[in-house]
């Protein structure tokens, strides 16, 4: 087989409200979920959805939401995303709603573990999040 060379990932910023429609579109075009990355940007979260096309290159969808805003889950469309969404919910406290399987913030963390350990700045405050 030929080596596949993948050029730089395609990037697109979408509004939270259009997320589901956009994901639907990508999926119907044959793309599949790779992963999600959540970044704490102070007042907002930036969440990157990485998709892989059948030609193997990556497509990124970037969503920015305020810290107390709700984000619809894409697990209804792509079951494969459910663990990652739970993880982000648990690590950052992102309010992801309509999860297909909801671990209620207890997927990886035990009751005694620090809460939202990867959150750096809490919503409406400047205090650092968990993780000592």
């Amino acid at each position: 087989m030929q080596q596949v060379h993948v050029e730089a990932a395609g990037d697109a910023v979408v509004a939270p409200g259009e997320l589901l429609a956009e994901v639907e579109r990508l999926v119907s075009a044959g793309a599949r979920f790779t992963t999600m990355v959540c970044l704490d940007e102070g007042l907002e979260f930036e969440i990157i959805y990485l998709f892989q096309k059948q030609t193997l290159e990556l497509v990124n969808l970037r969503v920015r939401i305020a810290k107390d805003e709700e984000l619809p889950s894409i697990s209804g469309i792509l079951l494969g995303a459910v663990l990652m969404e739970n993880e982000i919910k648990e690590f950052f406290g992102v309010k992801i709603i309509n999860l297909v399987i909801d671990f209620q913030g207890r997927m990886l963390l035990e009751a005694e573990s620090p809460k939202t350990p990867l959150l750096k700045v809490k919503a409406n405050s400047k205090q650092p999040g968990g993780g000592q």
Partner: protein, 358 residues
């Protein structure tokens, strides 16, 4: 109808690692599976933000002791892309060799565990015995058996010099001989096939849409392997992914088995073609901006994302390991199987919980 609900794991003799499957069965048929994870979660992503970025090579290696070299490789390639340096060609070949060696050791380990999970003890022993040859090679060339700590940002830390080379060749030959004795047992033995064929079926379309990776994906007929992307020296080694179309546990096993054969060839090829030159270059600045890297682990595609801000610490390191992507498929494959098949199907995705939970 009478139901049995019980925990399968976290401590369970067929599971080398801690994960719980909360199983509900009717008779011996599994009707519901819930994953209970978190027994191996350490918080490496956070620690990676606290450490100076160069420490993380060693931390990432210890995400998992089975696929540790490639974790380090991935992190190094990631940082290299963010600090705009390139590892020298000899380092690339060495990285390839060690990647493939650790793939062999991981696959042999898995083949053994699989054999053990269906009660074929002597086959387990045979696999692990063969695997020791690879571990010897690794220890000889890097100084450690399972965690090599030999990849570094900008290159590698030690060399396979001309003295060692024939020895590695010899060991590859010895391994190949052992492998040839094992191969037909896995591929054709009646009892092995009885336990694997038709178990844990994952149809081709589903394998794609669920986002499975690695042998799970390739066992369902998709020719995708991150090594096709051509990192390290793979673009110069005429790599072709191994594909099987059975979509069941047997197909996944065959993918891995054939990959072992392929990896041995890749090691030999890389050894022969390895150019001379220096082993590493040093980075002159701190990582900045974003980077995404995909590499192929034994269990499938590993994706790392990092964002740097020009300081010695990264702002975020995200590791998406292959097992993380394969677990949803597992949850779809288990319902409807028999209790006796649970270990086999679970192992058929080669779950690595240490990787998954980081």
């Amino acid at each position: 109808m009478a139901r049995v609900t019980f925990p399968f794991g976290p401590q369970h003799p067929v599971l080398p690692e801690a994960i719980q499957l909360q199983l509900t069965c009717e008779d011996e048929r599994v009707v519901e599976v819930l994953p209970v994870v978190g027994y191996m979660h350490r918080g490496i992503e956070k620690a990676a933000e606290r450490n100076p970025y160069s420490h993380n090579v060693f931390l990432c290696e210890r995400i998992c002791g089975i696929c540790s070299f490639i974790h380090a490789l991935c992190y190094c390639e990631l940082v290299e892309s963010m600090t705009k340096i390139k590892a020298p060609p000899r380092a690339k070949y060495l990285r390839t060799i060690w990647s493939e060696l650790s793939r062999i050791h991981s696959h042999m380990l898995w083949l053994g565990l699989l054999a053990d999970s269906f009660g074929f003890e002597s086959l387990f022993m045979q696999c692990w015995r063969a695997r020791e040859i690879i571990l010897d090679t690794l220890e000889m060339t890097t100084g450690q058996r399972v965690i090599q700590s030999t990849c570094t940002i900008g290159g590698v830390r030690c060399d396979i010099d001309s003295e060692m080379k024939p020895e590695v060749h010899r060991q590859m030959k010895a391994f190949k001989k052992e492998l040839e004795a094992i191969y037909p047992v896995f591929a054709r033995d009646y009892t092995v096939k009885a336990r694997l064929v038709g178990k844990g079926v994952l149809p081709k379309e589903q394998a794609w849409s669920l986002g499975t990776v690695g042998p799970v994906l390739r066992g369902s007929g998709w020719a995708y392997d991150a090594r096709m992307l051509g990192y390290a020296a793979y673009d110069e080694l005429e790599f072709e992914p191994v594909v099987e179309n059975g979509c069941d546990a047997y197909a996944r096993m065959m993918v891995r088995l054939r990959e072992v054969v392929q990896s041995v060839e890749l090691v030999v090829k890389a050894l022969d073609r390895m150019p001379d030159g220096e082993l590493a270059v040093t980075a002159r600045r701190f990582p900045e901006g974003e980077g995404i890297i995909r590499v192929e682990q034994p269990r499938g595609e590993l994706v790392e994302y990092a964002r740097g801000n020009g300081t010695v610490r990264l702002e975020r390191l995200k590791v998406r390991t292959p097992t993380f992507s394969n677990i949803p498929a597992l949850l779809l494959m288990l319902p409807g199987c028999e209790v006796a098949d649970v270990p086999v199907i679970t192992l058929s995705i080669d779950p690595c919980i240490a990787c998954t939970e980081r």
